[in-house]
Amino acid sequence: MVVVAYTTSKYRPESVSILFTDPSWLGNWPKWLDLPLMPFLNEGFDKLIKEYGMFFEGINNFLLGLYTDMKNFMVALPWPVLMISVIVLCYFVSGRNTGTTIMVAFCVFFLGFLSPRYWDKCIMTTCIVVIGMLLCLIIGIPVGIMMARNKKVRNAILPVLDLMQTIPSFCYLIPGILLFGLGAVPAIFAIFVYAVPPLIRLTDLGIRLVDTEVVEAAEAFGASKKQKLWGVQLPLALPNIMQGVNQCTMMSLAMVVIASMIGTRGIGDEVLLGLQQLNVGMATEAGIAIVLLAIIFDRITQSYGEKIQARTHNKKKLIL
């Protein structure tokens, strides 16, 4: 690598022998000792867009279509109808838990009550989060399952997940823009990159944490791999997987606010606007709306997970 850096650098000395006769380059870091990663990546990226542009455009059109349809539908609905639908959804998903439902109802009402503008913006944000989440579920859960089943796959994927989680989110907003343009789709892409790792990790962990004796029992009675997975491992890993889904939702919401900086419309741009105008009240108001939205998402996914947990791991009631 050092040789490549040397030969490609325009700052290199006229000949190698100078390095031995003039040791001044040992003082400050020499300009020629520079790995040409940036031009290399840029070239690669340009090539990617040129050659696979159609592919990304296909994805873009599909996701954008989905987003627009969903958004238009929800915006077109009269607000009381939408509000009641969310409340009804929460009521059944939480296993008819009135406390949770009342809390969610309150939050939904307050979104519009804070500022009438917020209602439609929250719908946009919700649509992006929901689509990003679906993408995470469709890809994350199977990947998690594969990791749990095969140690080699796990060893290969774990560093990728580490990378996805540690690279600052702004760094993949840029390729998102280059691949998908401005707007909702790069936000969905960023959500996927940012929010899928915890879901994958918790799916993998959940499946591996299923009691080995129980898995052995399934094997000993002749369960096929498929029967073992669907009948035993997934149901018993579900509380953990739901925890992953919950984490995924929260992180999606966090990401969608950051994504407002690349022109994604939604409740996030209210915060950005407040920031740009140094309007404390505006930013705080929008911030509260985001918190309310987060509470709604969190309560709904969390209570669904709790309901499943109560069903599969019912509390110990000793009879004898």
């Binding site: 129980v214 029992a217 094997e219 000993a220 009675f221 029967q227 110990k316 004898l320």
Partner: protein, 341 residues
Amino acid sequence: MSKIEIKNVYKIFGDQPSKVLPMVKDGATKEEILEKTGHTVGLDDVSLSIEEGETFVCMGLSGSGKSTLIRHINRLIDPTSGVVSVEGTNVMDLDQKQLIEFRRHKMSMVFQRFGLFPHKTVMENVGYGLEVQGQKPEERNKTAMEKIEAVGLNGFEHQYPNQLSGGMQQRVGLARALATNTDIMLMDEAFSALDPLIRSDMQKQLMDLQSELKKTIVFITHDLDESLRLGDHIGILNGGRLVQVGTPVDIIMNPADEYVTAFVKDVNRAKVIKAKIIMKSANESNGVDKKNLVKVQEDQFIEEFLPQVVCTNANCEVVDKQGNVKGYITNKELQKSLTKS
């Protein structure tokens, strides 16, 4: 032909078992192998055969390889080398599909910590073996109900496992193993997690079921009393090596080495040895005083008639179920059998 045959089975746990195998074959001990290579020897040249309809108890302390051994029979663990054959088929020759069929129809298993599915009801748990075979719910629920009744859990079929006590959970495990009606039952320390009273209850239940069903049972335990009570034959494992195989009386009367001797030292012999084992047969009983006799069934344990003998100072006349005289026991035989060597 024996029902289950295990020939020269070695199992080494670690990254490169095949490299370590020659060392083990050359007779290096478990400790040496662990120190030199970091590999753990699970089984070291184990060979045994288990006959149809018998209860074979495999006994050893923890780490002796007994749980490893039982998992070789249904190939939950693959041997490093050696042959495991069941009804003449080598289990290592089965491909994935055949192995699944084999596990479904040939054997069932009971686990130490029960291995019940917490998200399924008792009935669904018991019917699981049939479910994976693809039986319809009505059919398998009928069979499951029969087995639930057989283990005395009627009324609990719609409960979840963690609503039951340990003893009841293990009965569910037992019923689940019975439901598939396989010839072979593998029981991995099935009663070890239960408290003593419930354990002896379960042992009795198992013996009652066995006298009806005549299955081939491979039973793993670390409890000598349990193995003497249940086993037709007992194999004793120590550090992955099989040190002795024999009937309970064999093991007690002629322990193969110091390890087994130490094991059987504290056994209450009167509880294990039956009258027919120590009696002098009828035709060589010339010198026996036959005036003062106590009648004893041939299958009675010594402890059952000992008090009577001591009180009346009589000799015993051993009879079979039809009442035919089979032999006699005098004080001399009693003394010999009860004295610890």
